[in-house]
């Protein structure tokens, strides 16, 4: 049942992505209205599917499949929030395809997730996982916007204006959005690290074990911390920040993927 709902949500997102991409070429307002409705209904279906699975599992997301699916859900929720706040449907042309590339592998590998041991099933785990996934989603949106920024910047610098030039928001707007998302993501990431080490301590009696997921998360945390510091102190912004944001997001994906086999290994 939940799988059917998820598949339906996938199709809604897919159609929305097509509409948003067509909107880049043909600026028909109706396309954005339809796409927005599709994403919203996709989110509802997706949320119900995820909720059904979670209640069955005692509130804890399991396996990489569900993790990816939750990241996609949160990513699109952030997008809808941004679109409602700033009325920038053009973000959809980048963020819905990004969400799909996260979600589709998630759907394909879902199921077959081994149940977690009772040892880690405690109130802190769902909180840790939810915050981690929300942080990853925030960085995912920041990366999508970084791609847009780089495309726009290249046209601005090269003075060759393509179709996107007229469609994309201003560089300043995208850079500012990046800053806010990275700040939010950084805070979430910090909480993830702290709660994660508590969990590790509870399961294995050690706060820090240098496992790949821990290392990747720590590096990502340092990278984003450095970006924010450089932004505040020496006015780093624009292209460099965009590249680093994408790199940091890549690290977080590594951290996400490596965190699952590890969790199943918990005795």
């Amino acid at each position: 049942m939940s799988h059917a709902l998820l598949s339906l949500a996938c199709h809604a997102y897919g159609l929305a992505a097509v509409f948003y991409l067509v909107y880049l070429v043909r600026q028909w307002r109706l396309l954005t209205v339809a796409a927005r409705a599709l994403v919203a209904s996709g989110l509802v279906l997706h949320g119900v599917a995820l909720g059904m699975d979670l209640t069955q599992q005692g509130g804890v997301p399991q396996g990489l499949g569900q993790g990816l699916s939750a990241v996609a859900l949160l990513l699109l929720a952030i997008f809808v929030g941004l679109d409602l706040r700033y009325r920038t449907p053009v973000l959809g042309a980048f963020l819905t395809p990004l969400a799909l590339t996260v979600l589709v592998p998630g759907v394909l590998i879902s199921g077959g997730a081994s149940p977690l041991s009772a040892a880690v099933l405690r109130p802190l785990l769902p909180v840790h996982i939810t915050i981690a996934l929300l942080g990853i989603a925030a960085f995912a949106v920041a990366s999508g916007i970084a791609v847009m920024y780089l495309l726009m910047e290249r046209q601005m610098k090269g003075k060759k204006f393509g179709l996107l030039f007229a469609r994309l928001p201003s560089l300043d707007f995208m850079d500012d959005l990046n800053r806010r998302l990275v700040v939010a993501g950084f805070i979430l990431l910090s909480i993830t690290l702290v709660t994660g080490s508590f969990l590790s301590n509870h399961a294995d009696g050690v706060f820090w074990q240098w496992r790949p997921t821990e290392v990747a998360t720590l590096i990502a945390w340092l990278v984003f911390g450095a970006v924010l510091g450089a932004r505040m102190l020496s006015g780093w912004q624009g292209r460099r920040v965009a590249w680093v944001t994408m790199a940091g997001f890549g690290l977080l994906l590594v951290s996400l993927v490596t965190s699952y086999p590890q969790m199943r290994m918990v005795p």
Partner: protein
Amino acid sequence: MSAEFFCIGLSHKTAPVGVREKLAVPDEQQVEVLKRLESTGEVMVVSTCNRMELFGASADERAREAVLEAIASLGGAEAVRHVYEHHGDAALVHLFRVAASLDSMVVGEPQILGQVKEAFELAHKTGTVKGELIRACQAAFSSAKRVRAETGVGRAATSMASAAVELAAKVFGQLAQRPVLLVGAGEMSELVARHLLTAGATQIAITNRTQAHAQQLAELVGATTRPWESLAEHLVWADLVVCSVATPQPLFTRAGVGTALKGRKHRPLFMVDLAVPRAVEPTVAQLSNVYSYDVDDIQRVVAENAAARAAEAAKAEVIVTEEVARFLRARAVREGVPVLAQLRQRAEQIVRSEVEKTLTHMGDELSDKQKKSIEAMAHAIVNKLLHQPTAKLRALSTEDDKALAGAAAELFGLPLGETAGEEH
């Protein structure tokens, strides 16, 4: 004789700013002008920083002289030399074009419609616009709305100044709180300043080798000035720099801009160089977080936009022409020939219903060709019958002889005094 529309005034197309600024008079003074001209007919004053025009409708031959006198009293004999005039339908077309922003310095800029509306309100409050001008203005406003809704006029920049501002908006988004530095106080700087103001810029500073000129322009556009000597420092302050001063040596070198970038903590800097020879060294464009455009770059943008824009402006002109024609049609019906129009309409109705009746009776017995002949015959009979009355009625609308029109209405059983159902 019925009232004729006129437009007498001057604008950015005919008068330099020195003349225009003398005519930029406050509301109270405009009211005085309106009252002085009231006796010659309807009148309103449209006064913006780019134009000062008196629109009116009058049957009085003295109206023209009175308006010219009024302009002379405000702006002196110098002003009158720059005056242009439109009379009759041409004045109407001009009113519609002004309201639709087709006559603006920045074609398609949205403020002019509001300014014309304010001018209309002021004249309305003063009581110097009555039937004719009220109807003309209302038609002009709705035609302007149509232009805005149905065309993309004003959407893409067609001048170097507007293209520069448009590009800046692509970097900075809102220009409201962005510090802008205009280097030079010439015509180009004025144009850029106007575009910036339209785009919402609030912090504009002007620097010029001759401080007095900078001061003059600053006052005109509501900007501040900065000393020419400390140009390098301004580069730390400003996010957008527009140069229109030709100098033998570049004003902004790569090294200089590089130093300024450190001072501004690498905040993006957008530089537009409209001067020839160039005031910004070409290599400045290689610095990161600097977007530097020279005349050729900007001109290329303008050329790309121009094609698209020309099509939109042409569409807008068509709309204006249509709307003027519609207004004139309605006016003709309203004014001179209601009886005639009703008579024609009635005849048309009779022909249509009788032909229909006959054709349904005869049904399939007739070929298409025969049906057409019957229709043509019905039209011909009615037209022949009405030819003489039509000609008489048409002639009388200029002779102001309402008695015959009344008789015709009586004879043909038409409701007198109402318009023939045309739009208003």
